[in-house]
Symmetry: C2
Amino acid sequence: MIKKIDHIAIVAPDLDEATGFWAEALGLPITRIADVPEEEVTVAFLPIGDSNLEILQPTNDSSGVGRYLQKRGPGMHHICLEVEDIDAVLTKLQAANVPLINSEARVGHGGTRYAFIHPKGTGGVLIELYEVAAAA
Amino acid sequence: MIKKIDHIAIVAPDLDEATGFWAEALGLPITRIADVPEEEVTVAFLPIGDSNLEILQPTNDSSGVGRYLQKRGPGMHHICLEVEDIDAVLTKLQAANVPLINSEARVGHGGTRYAFIHPKGTGGVLIELYEVAAAA
């Protein structure tokens, strides 16, 4: 059902400063930096093993990630798990009364489908589920 | 220098309840549950892709993990990165003035060598470095 950790997301007030640590001090490559206007963040992608780090800088204080940074400070934000069939996982979680932020999958970058599980149902961890788009 | 994410550690007040979510609702296997007296935790190991989740239940409130749980609540605790040569990484981090919790590697389970980087040097993320013991 769960294939791997697609990424760990880390929130930072300043993307340059944060990537300076991960890329310069630890030597991880940065493969892409992208604006994601629908989430009001700028994101740096750093592959590591079969997974990625995603460093998120909120573009304003009133977005979801911006408010998280104000409240909790910089650090780990969420874990994203790649699943084979996101609809099947969401159906199973709803049957188990696990609270979901998105009860139906949303469509993101490149046709991937994703949904967030509420941290009050997971022991305090914000979890994103992610189903990679099938090749055309 | 960095090979992969060895594990993501999650702190929970009750191991049975936490593993119930990850193992039952998400279907991840639990391969081992172990007491780690030197860290004052009981740990469940759940493999995922080329990585693992480690669910930590502190065995008392005064340990490092116990105090973290009191202060921050349940959720993500640290990220562990597997490295090829932990001494080389620690030397490089010290040269870059990154604050370390362990300036020299400690020896843990099965001869693995590990050290923690202080979150004030990483943008708020507690990072463990981990070098797997060479085969005998």
